[in-house]
Symmetry: C2
Subunit: 626 residues, 2 copies
């Protein structure tokens, strides 16, 4: 039988699709087969069915879906033909597409929902034949073009100055036949001849840490390429609050932050140009999601009062500008829309998630949690939606943790404790530290074996019973209380021990307490108990990476059965994309943002108590509860 | 009796009004009185009642208006209390205002018509109290401001990005009380506190040679200051056609011409700032008139096809942009309106003249001629208006004439021939050349004494009878036919003779032929004979300076009695000013431009013949006809 591998590769700076057909007898998993033929598939755990990273999109006859895949893949992923290469075995001729990146995977993941939304963007192209000028009628070029548009039913169109300056040449190049790109009555482009065949837009998600952009074919609603970069504002502070502080120092600081993120967006656009060969100048529509602060900074609007009670943004409804006003390197007349914000800390990104997950149209009691430095939470029931935001701090991103680090090469991202501790490291190198998902795993496992108690205290080795000497050896007295050695120095990249300190655990308790308290308050507002929750959606990249069991184990989330938990990936960006290809979705976003209730946690007397309770770890572990 | 002189003087770079009271017995003219007290009044002819330049605005009892003043001043000027200082004598206490410049005089001249137009600009200021933000309502600053505007009846207002960036601070500076400047539903400015007391606009006339601007108090419709500069585009060609050629070389050339005129406008605005102390940033409305080409260049829009048959402009209706888009150094959000163009060579300046002179509302048969490098002509009768443009060339500006020069210091601007020739020189220095008005005088006088015949031939001295030997001596054979020595070298600034050559006369014949042929065609179109013309308006600075008799003598204008001829000065700029202070006038300008018929002379088979006939000089002189 034949297996056709399909993947993307960068050759001479351009991305192109590669394909390789190999023959197999069906006794090998896709992962092993790929390795034999030097085809790269990412698998942190070495193919042991633990990391869940070796996702491939398959088409054809394969072995049955394994228990491990059922655990590590969502129903949605399974429904879309995604399998783990380490478990999937071909039983006939198959095709296996290997995602080159998480974003490409997300693209595949979300294709389904977008197919369902018909491509009907708010920007259109129209081929127009303009009257030629005559000696007797001294009408201007502009007036004759507008006349032609009016005859086709488009009244009161506006041609911006930028387009006017070259209009005489554009009109005459192809004998007064032009293609007009129109956004409402705003003319975005006038091109010689018939270019109605192509219409492109960009959807951006500006995260505090990462910026992701996708080029969309607006006729077909298809994503043609995706690129991601670190937000260039990182140099001015890791989190939203420190950036607001910096921007509040003065106009030049605000401008600097704006410049930094616009440069990032332009970098993403340039990379997409490299991948596709489609000139950014052909991009005539942009939709951007981001948290409220990121939106303010990208627009160069003062975010100062977002951070001061009563936490008022400068704008909350959707914001439309021209690309040229932002310095965005696409068609300068392209309208750029920032999705509406609900409040100072519930932004257009959350609205994007709500649009992408169709939260408002779901019948059940659904809780959506987007975990980041700020946790945005939305609880939906019967058409009513309530949102809040809670400051988790950067612990989940590995910051302010003694051995913490971002989820990059050398980060421990997976931890399992049996007789001793076992870790998986991103890039399979020697470990350099622990990232967020590794931390949650670690604490969850330490809770399971009792090394951490429900109050978060790291026990003394003497207090513990029935544990292996390897484990007990790892507990020692550090500078500020007990600490647990995750990796001994000799195995670590820089030769020093990787440890979890008592203080680290407190940081995590604060972070998870904030998230959990937020969900508790929203549940209270709508009077929904944990057991009544029908679905729990985890949004954002973090939601994709953490092990749900561990998150549950440490009490980050309400106690619901694991099968009710679903990762929806970077749903914010999917929301942006849907709004880009569908005027209906864009208008829905505004309606949703306006109708969504907002609970300001700092204004609630019951928040402090909820927070105190939520900092504790659950007394009963998931495992024992089953 | 007391005479109070009032004038403006530049002291330490700032203009300020000066005043001096002097005592007189009433035996002296105002001019002599002023000179005795070292007060400067311009009088080229030395007070001989010829140049008509010593105009003063008087208030109080004076001697009767003299014949000379009746000849040299228009009825309008006389009605507005303007007298010639060389003839006017106080008979009681009087005030005499001395205009510092032609533009200031025009301002005085046109004050009457503007007083009649109520100040009702299309831009308004509104004091607004905005709701303060609350913890429970996370509405943005923008949304609360828009809500306040909506409550006052202003729906769907748009706040531009530029204003958004500082809005949070502006709102909070004066306790959420702000003044909104609004142009339709476009917000132009938001200022802290109540600034409704002041509202300023700028009216510009962009001439091919000169740019004039006036700062207008939009509440009162009053002009606060005027400044003028040479159009910085002059370096790229003296006339419209050479600038179009330059701009057609490419985008960078077009941009250079745009930059040059915008710099000029900004220079004018800066000078006005100096004079008034009112910051350009407070200017939130601008109206610009200019010929079609000047408008294209100021907007950076390609004028290429204006110069090629069928002479199509890129736009003809009024053009609105934001000041910031042009780089105009006023409030960048200020709307800038260019008055509509009628055709490639009948521009917004002509529309401005029509608005200022209320041509459309006059009952009679009125001919308006604006003489420049291009002559724009409008014939109005019973609500119908027909316009045309005719290429006079730069002869009237002294170009392409052997001893020609611009109307600056050392230019002969006035010529009279008796037994010998007598000239008046601008600045009363030794003459350097002849300017347009001097040329017309000279040719008219030479026609009168027969030295030039009706075909334009400069006669040989031998053919002439009854002329003084001084005059005959001046006729000599030059390099290309006869020439006439206007000033002998010993009296001229550079020691060489100032002459009028046969070729110079031909140039003037071409120029005046073009203008006259244009008027003839329009008269034909409306079937109006010379004797049926009720009024002949001369617009533009040139119309102010030429002696009507001379213009008539040489057949530049239709043969109508002199009292039917009226100079309306820089009426184009007055039109801009009226449109700036009155939305009604601005809308009327668009209606007028659309309803005005246009005759393309080059498309008419009868134009060539009219032109040939019009090049001849009239057989009978004005004097002999009386």
């Amino acid at each position: 039988m034949q297996v056709t591998f399909i993947w993307h590769e960068q050759i001479d700076g351009r991305w192109s699709q590669q394909q390789k057909q190999v023959t197999t007898t069906g006794d090998m998993t896709i992962l092993r087969l790929a390795r034999e033929h030097d085809i790269k598939i990412d698998a942190t755990c070495g193919g042991r069915g633990r990391c869940g990273r070796c996702k491939v999109v398959v088409d054809g006859l394969l072995n049955e879906i394994s228990k491990v895949e059922e655990q590590l893949l969502t129903k949605e992923e399974l429904a879309r033909g995604i399998r783990l290469a380490c478990y999937a075995r071909p039983l006939g001729d198959i095709k296996a597409s290997i995602p080159t990146s998480e974003t490409e995977l997300l693209q595949i993941l979300t294709e389904g929902s977008e197919q369902a939304v018909a491509a009907a963007p708010d920007i259109v192209k129209q081929f127009v034949t303009v009257e030629k000028p005559l000696l007797e009628t001294p009408d201007g070029d502009r007036e004759r073009l507008l006349e032609a548009l009016e005859q086709s039913g488009q009244k009161d169109c506006q041609i911006p100055l930028q387009i006017m300056s070259g209009l005489p040449e554009v009109l005459r190049k192809e004998d007064h036949q032009v293609t007009v790109t129109r956004w409402g009555n705003h003319i975005v482009a006038v091109e010689s001849g018939d270019t109605t065949g192509e219409l492109f837009g960009l959807a951006f998600d500006i995260g505090t840490t990462t910026v992701v952009g996708g080029l969309i074919d607006l006729h077909q609603g298809k994503e043609l390429a995706v690129a991601a970069r670190l937000n260039g504002q990182a140099a001015y502070g890791a989190d939203v609050i420190s950036r607001i502080e910096y921007a509040s120092n003065g106009t030049s600081q605000l401008r600097r932050l704006q410049r930094a993120v616009i440069d990032t967006l332009n970098g993403v656009a340039a990379e997409i140009h490299e991948k596709t060969g489609i000139s950014p100048n052909k991009v005539c529509r942009v939709v951007i999601v981001g948290n409220t602060c990121m939106q303010h900074l990208a627009l160069g609007v003062s975010p100062t009062y977002i951070a001061r009670s009563p936490y008022t943004p400068a704008f909350s409804n959707r914001f439309d500008v021209k690309a040229g006003q932002l310095g965005l390197a696409v068609n300068p007349e392209a309208p750029v829309t920032f999705l509406p914000n609900v409040a100072g800390f519930v932004g257009g990104d959350t609205v994007g998630v709500v649009v992408a997950t169709e939260l408002a149209h779901q019948k059940g009691r659904i809780l959506m949690v987007d975990i980041g430095t700020n946790g945005e939470i939305v609880m939906s029931w019967g058409g009513r939606m309530v949102s809040c935001s809670t400051a988790a701090g950067p612990a989940f991103e590995g910051a302010q943790i003694s051995s913490g680090m971002r989820a990059g090469e050398g980060a421990i991202e997976f931890v399992e404790i049996g007789d001793d501790i076992e870790v998986a490291v991103i890039g399979k190198t020697q470990p350099r530290g622990i990232c967020g998902s590794g931390l949650i795993d670690l604490v969850a496992e330490l809770l399971k074996v009792g090394i951490i108690d429900e109050t978060g205290r790291l026990q003394d080795a003497a207090e513990l019973q029935g544990l292996s000497p390897e484990l007990l050896k790892r507990i020692r007295l550090g500078e500020a209380g007990n600490e647990f050695v995750v990796v001994w120095g000799e195995e670590a990249a820089d030769g020093s021990d990787i440890v979890l300190t008592q203080r680290d655990i407190r940081e995590l308790q604060l972070a998870k307490g904030a998230i959990r308290a937020g969900t508790m308050i929203l549940q209270q507002v709508l009077d929904i108990k944990d057991e009544d929750i029908d679905e729990l959606l985890l949004a954002g990249a973090f939601g994709n990476y953490i092990r749900k069991e561990s998150a549950m184990q440490m009490g980050l989330l309400p106690q619901v059965p694991l099968e009710k938990v679903r990762s929806v990936g970077n749903a914010a960006r999917v929301g942006a994309r849907l709004c880009l290809i569908s005027q209906g979705k864009l208008e829905e976003a505004s309606r949703l943002a306006r109708s969504m209730d907002y609970v300001e946690l700092s204004g609630r007397p019951d928040f402090q108590e909820a927070f105190m309770n939520a900092m504790l770890f659950p007394q009963i572990t998931c495992e024992s509860a089953r």
